[in-house]
């Protein structure tokens, strides 16, 4: 296992790094304002639209984009496709940051954050609440992700001592490493169960919104559609990330392996679209797609973004070329993102003339969170053995 990955090295205080750090700091100032002056001071959230992009993007879409670790674990550890092993670590790293930042952003969004731990107190827990299931699962999964990622840290501090700050390399971790290798399989299993639970439940969250959510999205199949699309997005982010870092970090492309991986996509998209369309037809909701309003327009954009990669990736030749691979991965990510925005914001209408568009402050805080994710990712791949060794390409 350990021969597969290597730190890529190089200076980390690059210009992109500094720009990202700037965004992060600006967001930190806005977050401070939010804590002193209230959520209304920086956001356009209202009693009609109590949830905005902090929930729809940072948590709901953000964790789905961070499903790379989950999707790859299904492939490698359940379906036993060991050849994809080199892709596990970068996927896992993106999941660690995606989920950790989502968990942190929940504490920006919830109003009475200092009582957040009430979720874990049995005498407060409401087992009928979908939110409880989502929150507990995400919290546990963040811990599991760090446990799963720890071996990379152990390997890094032992093998690449010289390039790391002294504080990280002070302790001997070989004992811990041994313990970890004994029990890791259990956490990998839990790490597959938890996202299966909460990625579907993220969809179930909107069931109780009833008629406030347009029939284009309100369905008992929300959990299933959210789960399939999250798995899809997990594979898409692995392909996207690999090709993007190949160009950005000037590394060889892993196209053959990614092409094989992309072979799963048409199946997943196909199943997803069959469920999606049949459900609309059976419920008699398809008419709403021709209402020629913002909701119907967004519905078509959402589904076009699913159909485009389906068509592209049906052809085996396309799967072996970097460009169509990249475009279809990007399209799947956007499709899942737009689906989630539609199900949480665009399709949500509380009536009474309420409307919502994110404020500058909301957008900048979300940008800051994304910036920090990328920034931390860059630092880790340069210092720790995460990305596959060049020979593997």
């Amino acid at each position: 296992m350990s021969e597969e990955s290597k730190p890529i090295g190089g200076e980390f205080l690059t210009t992109p790094f500094k720009v990202l750090a700037g965004f992060t700091l600006f967001a930190a100032v806005l977050v401070l304002i939010r804590y002193v002056m209230g959520i209304g001071a920086v956001s356009n959230l209202s009693d009609g639209y109590p949830w905005g992009i902090w929930i729809a993007y940072d948590v709901v879409a953000g964790t789905a984009i961070a499903c790379g670790g989950y999707s790859m674990a299904i492939l490698v550890y359940v379906l036993n496709k060991g050849e994809y092993h080199p892709l596990i670590r970068p996927a896992l790293l993106a999941s660690v940051f995606g989920y950790t930042l989502a968990a942190i952003s929940i504490f920006i969004d919830i109003g009475r954050y200092w009582q957040g731990y009430n979720m874990f107190l049995p005498w407060y827990a409401n087992v009928n609440s979908v939110m409880l299931e989502v929150a507990v699962c995400i919290a546990l999964y963040v811990m599991v992700l760090w446990i799963e990622f720890a071996p990379v840290f152990f390997e890094g501090v032992q093998k690449y001592k010289s390039s790391l700050p002294a504080i990280l390399t002070r302790w001997d971790v070989s004992g811990l490493q041994k313990i970890w290798s004994k029990f890791l399989f259990f956490f990998i299993a839990v790490g597959i169960l938890l996202p299966t639970m909460h990625q579907s439940s993220l969809g179930s969250l909107m069931l109780i919104a009833g008629k406030k959510l347009s029939p284009l999205w309100q369905t008992g199949f929300l959990p299933l559609l959210f789960l399939i699309s999250a798995i899809m997005m997990g594979y898409a982010i692995v392909i996207f990330e690999s090709l993007f870092s190949a160009v950005g970090l000037k590394r060889p492309k892993e196209t053959p392996m990614l092409g094989k991986l992309a072979g799963i996509m048409p199946w997943l998209i196909g199943v997803y679209l069959v469920v999606r369309v049949l459900d609309l037809i059976v419920r008699g909701a398809l008419g709403h797609a021709f209402a020629f309003n913002v909701q119907s327009l967004m519905f078509w954009i959402e589904n076009a973004l699913f159909v485009y990669p389906l068509v592209l990736l049906m052809s085996p030749e396309n799967r072996m070329k970097a460009r169509p691979l990249f475009l279809s991965a990007l399209s799947i990510l956007l499709a899942g993102l737009v689906y989630r925005f539609n199900a949480f914001l665009v399709g949500f209408d509380p009536g009474n003339g309420w409307h919502y568009f994110p404020s500058f402050g909301e957008i900048m805080i979300t940008m800051g969170i994304i910036s920090f994710e990328i920034l931390a990712y860059l630092y880790i791949v340069k210092k720790f053995p995460v990305l596959p060794k060049a020979e593997h390409a």
Partner: protein
């Protein structure tokens, strides 16, 4: 390195159990029945004159601050329920607005506050039981010591009743709790006590429902007695009956509510949403509980996963 068929099947079986449960909600949660001694209100829009005595009484007895919609902030004139306004009177007006309780060229009043649902979406949604329905009288109350401020109750409520203090660093959710602090002392909700016309009366929900149905049978033009403040009390007023829409809003809507409405114009015109008889809480809980019943499916799924992952990680070494 190939997929071992049997192992895959083991995981897939448990996994598809979860999914199957997901797709076919077979263990439907029973609809909630009305609590026997539930209390509530009957608001008769045809009796209401729009004096807003109930609005100021609500503010006085719940100690909520004023809420101004004008720039000079000289008036307490909220446009809708907000974190400072648990109860409000709103106006419907169409065309010339000339005749009261007529849909065309008419106007009508509607009182809006928490409906104290039989099966409240907010109670089902709240992860930390900050919103609870009293098993005794059915009042839906809020506990700020439990609340984490996630605002899922706001997403869930079909009437958009829970309000949040977006302007505060340490916010709480605010909503009508049927003056539970007054009920404890044997008093009735302030809005009912200070309604001069009997448009809003307090009582046991079963009795209020019977009263509402009785009124639906009245002939327009008749002189009838209408109780004031509370259903069973000494005060009554006489008035000439005006036409009703033949529906008690809240008897069945959204699984039923403890605040019932009689109206002269269709309830939808007054902003009361047309809800199905099945509550959203029932739909949501049916699906969620089918998947997670006794945590059996997740535990089976995890068992399968642990077994297969253990085997496969050994293979990789």
């Amino acid at each position: 390195m190939e997929i071992k068929r049997r192992d895959f099947l083991k995981v897939a079986t448990a996994g598809s159990l979860m999914l199957a449960a997901n797709v076919h909600p077979s263990i439907a949660r029973e609809p909630k029945d009305r609590i026997k001694d539930a209390v509530g209100m009957l608001y008769d829009s045809t009796v209401c004159v729009g004096c807003k005595a109930c609005v100021s009484a609500c503010k006085q007895y719940n100690e909520t601050p004023t809420s101004s919609s004008s720039t000079d902030e000289l008036w307490d004139n909220p446009l809708d329920n907000d974190s400072k306004t648990y109860n409000i009177i709103k106006l419907y007006k169409e065309g010339t607005g000339a005749v009261k309780d007529r849909e065309k060229d008419g106007h009508a009043y509607v009182k809006r506050q928490c409906m104290h649902c039989v099966d409240p979406a907010c109670v089902s949604a709240c992860p930390v039981s900050a919103l609870k329905k009293s098993p005794k009288d059915g009042v839906v109350s809020y506990d700020k010591n439990a609340c984490i401020g996630c605002r899922y109750c706001q997403v869930a409520c079909p009437y958009n009743i829970p309000k949040f203090e977006f302007e505060k660093a340490f916010p709480v959710i605010r909503k009508c709790q049927l003056c539970s602090h007054r009920l404890e002392k044997g008093e009735i909700p302030a809005c009912c006590q200070f309604c001069p016309t009997g448009a809003c009366i307090f009582g046991k929900v079963v009795d209020l429902l019977a009263e509402a149905k009785k009124r639906l049978a009245y002939k327009p033009g008749e002189l009838r007695k209408y109780p004031v403040e509370r259903l069973v009390g000494n005060q009554v007023t006489e008035r000439v009956v005006t036409p009703y829409v033949q529906n008690v809003y809240g008897e069945k809507e959204g699984g039923g509510t403890q605040v019932l409405y009689l109206t002269g114009v269709p309830s939808e015109k007054l902003g009361l949403p047309a809800l199905e008889e099945t509550s959203d809480a029932k739909r949501s809980e049916t699906i969620q509980h089918t998947i997670y019943k006794g945590m059996i499916a997740p535990i089976l799924f995890l068992g399968g996963l642990v077994y297969v992952v253990h085997k496969n990680t050994k293979d990789h070494k």
